[in-house]
């Protein structure tokens, strides 16, 4: 997995370098140079998100994680950083298009669930004991606002808040090999072999949180970046009854950036 990521990222970075060198006399280059003199640095980066949309801490109802598949979650980011003269500090603002998703299988015990059927005529409500498969596939337009700090010529660290606008979202899965107690743990018990669900339409439009990361400037125009972004609001509204605990997108990213 790691190998694949590295190969992909290197290829991408090489391609970026090649395109940038062919038209070095263009006006944009001069503008970039002018901006750099004023302390503005522009970069274009790409990376892969890996993480989870998960409750924290894991609620007691979750007894075992049977499997976890991060999938392929791509992030592309444009960033402008203003470095203050004579100071290691700077600020950066970015625009990121990114996917945050995963597929997990877990075993739960006495997990409260509510689900409205397609046409809203019936609602299943009860306590579920059994297995749950969850597939999250969300894409976001994210704007981070970061404070940057240069440790030395090559290393810098950064941290700050971000806001995300969900462009597309999918939250689906199934409950299988278990039983539901109607309404609550004292209700009628019914075994369920498999039942699927789709809560995509209940997903929140906005997420916000904090992120922190670091940059290693490997070459003049190429940096390696790593970060962790932690949403502090859940992906569902707090009154959403089908998932009783907030699910926070917590994703790490590893990527490369071309520094203009």
């Amino acid at each position: 997995m790691l190998k694949r990521l590295l190969i992909l990222s290197t290829t991408l970075a090489t391609a970026l370098c090649a395109t940038a060198q062919t038209d070095h006399l263009a006006d944009t280059d001069r503008n970039l140079e002018r901006a750099a003199i004023m302390g503005w640095h522009v970069s274009l980066g790409a990376g892969f998100n890996i993480g989870g949309t998960a409750p924290l801490p894991l609620p007691r109802e979750i007894r075992h994680i049977d499997s976890y598949d991060p999938g392929l979650q791509v992030a592309i980011e444009g960033r402008a950083e203003k470095r203050f003269l004579g100071s290691p500090w700077g600020i950066a603002i970015g625009v990121t298009l990114e996917n945050k998703g995963m597929t997990t299988k877990a075993r739960v015990k006495n997990y409260h669930m509510e689900a409205m059927n397609d046409d809203g005529t019936g609602e299943v409500r009860g306590a579920w004991t059994g297995h749950v498969r969850t597939k999250v596939d969300n894409s976001y337009l994210t704007i981070p606002l970061l404070a940057t700090y240069r440790l030395n010529k090559r290393w810098s660290v950064e941290a700050g808040p971000f806001v995300s606008l969900r462009l597309h979202g999918s939250f689906t899965g199934s409950a299988y090999d278990g039983y539901i107690r109607d309404q609550d743990p004292t209700g009628e018990k019914m075994e369920v072999t498999s039942a699927s669900y789709d809560f995509s339409s209940s997903l929140r439009r906005f997420n916000y949180g904090v992120q922190a990361g670091g940059e290693y400037r490997a070459y003049r125009h190429l940096a390696i970046r790593a970060q962790v972004a932690w949403s502090v609001n859940g992906i569902f509204p707090s009154h959403f009854g089908s998932v009783t605990f907030p699910l926070y997108p917590i994703y790490g990213r590893l990527g490369f950036a071309y520094l203009f």
Partner: protein, 392 residues
């Protein structure tokens, strides 16, 4: 060289960081104590010690236990022991208002006794009524005795043994309502597949309607629930996973050789016949099922008839079946003779040792147990009766 070395070190550190995050996230907390509070059965040793007085299999539902015992057995000081959800406790409130241990404590079962099961986590409790009943053969079933289930959403029916004073209730009727309840499609009791019909032919009757189970039922390839009512037990627990085994037809309520099965009904079939995949079959027209089956059981090991063998089991002795119900809109009387199956005889000796069971089955869709039928098919029944030899 040093540069790539640093690069890999950085990578390693980043990955370690990510790994730490995911380890934190995957911290599984200690298992919560059980929240369920069920009577799961009657203690096997207690059952064995009382096997000479107990008839058939005890009925254990979500809020009640009914044990049939031989007529005349002293039930004034029984000390039943039950198996419970792991960690749960069984108590009852004694005459002085104190909560005392329930398992193995002597109580007077001249009337049903109330017990409370407390969950291991202490958050939940559930009351059970436990009855030790004398058997009474099925007579005329007028469907005047019914009540809402413990959750107050749908009706259940019972027969009454008028000779048995306060403990007259016999929970011999079953329906699929408990399974339908989980789909959330029933907003009030009349929305359920099996509901009270008022007025019926005489007093109240029962209305059986084939209902859609909505998108949840469709996901599980159980898109309809046929209104049904039968003598026996509906095991809600396996209604979705093993539906043909969830309907346990028949109880040992046989009063002699059955001669006729009679009653009143009306029927109208729903417009669109669908199968378990929700495919429409324009060539098929729904019809109802009304029949009674007498079959042999081994008293020491009573096995009921199920959805897949209720009309085909080699243990069947005699069947009374309405063959061409049609669609009468007015109350229509039927009187069906029990037809003995080839090679079968009715044995008084077998009857004396409780070796027969009888089922009455009514369904708004004949193939409803395979989830085939027409939503909206409606069967109304009332005043069902098994005519035993000597009663005609």
């Amino acid at each position: 060289m040093t540069q790539s070395h640093t690069l890999f070190r950085l990578l390693r550190h980043t990955l370690l960081g990510l790994a730490t995050v995911s380890v934190l996230a995957s911290c599984i907390k200690d298992e919560a104590l059980n929240a369920e509070c069920d009577i799961t059965g009657i203690d096997a040793a207690w059952m064995a010690a009382h096997s000479s007085t107990i008839i058939g299999v005890p009925i254990i539902r979500n809020n009640m236990v009914a044990v049939t015992i031989r007529k005349g057995t002293d039930r004034s000081a029984l000390d039943p022991r039950f198996t419970l959800t792991p960690g749960a406790r069984l108590t009852f409130t004694d005459a002085d208002g104190r909560e005392v241990e329930g398992n193995g404590t002597q109580r007077n079962f001249a009337t049903p006794q109330r017990y409370t099961v407390h969950s291991e986590d202490g958050m939940w409790a559930k009351d059970y009524h436990v009855a030790f009943n004398y058997p009474v053969p099925l007579g005329t079933c007028s469907f005047e005795d019914f009540r809402l289930d413990a959750s107050g959403r749908y009706y259940t029916w019972f027969e009454r043994d008028t000779l048995d004073g306060d403990d007259g209730e016999r929970p011999c009727w079953a329906s699929g309502n408990g399974g339908f309840a989980i789909t959330g499609m029933g907003k009030n009791p009349a929305d359920f597949p099996t509901s009270v019909l008022s007025p019926g032919y005489r007093g109240n009757g029962v209305r059986l309607v084939t209902r859609s189970t909505g998108s949840f039922g469709a996901m599980a390839k159980k898109p309809i629930a046929a209104g049904n009512l039968f003598i026996g037990e509906f095991v809600t627990g396996i209604a979705m996973s093993k539906p043909l085994k969830a309907t346990r037809f028949g109880l040992q309520l046989v009063g002699g050789r059955p001669l006729y099965f009679e009653g009143y009904y009306t029927y109208s079939a729903g417009p669109v016949y669908t199968d378990e995949y929700q495919a429409v079959h324009p060539d098929l027209h729904d019809t109802c099922a009304i029949y009674s089956v007498l079959y042999e059981v081994e008293p020491d090991n009573v096995v009921p008839l199920y959805g897949d063998d209720v009309l085909t089991s080699p243990r069947i002795v005699a069947v009374a079946r309405l063959t061409n119900p049609g669609e009468p809109t007015e109350w229509t009387h039927f009187r069906l003779p029990f037809v003995m199956l080839p090679g079968k005889v009715f044995s008084e000796e077998r009857l004396r040792r409780d070796g027969y069971a009888i089922a009455i089955v009514a369904s708004a869709s004949q193939d409803g147990d395979y989830f085939r039928g027409a939503v909206g098919s409606e069967l109304c029944i009332d005043e069902l009766r098994i005519v035993w030899e000597g009663e005609e």
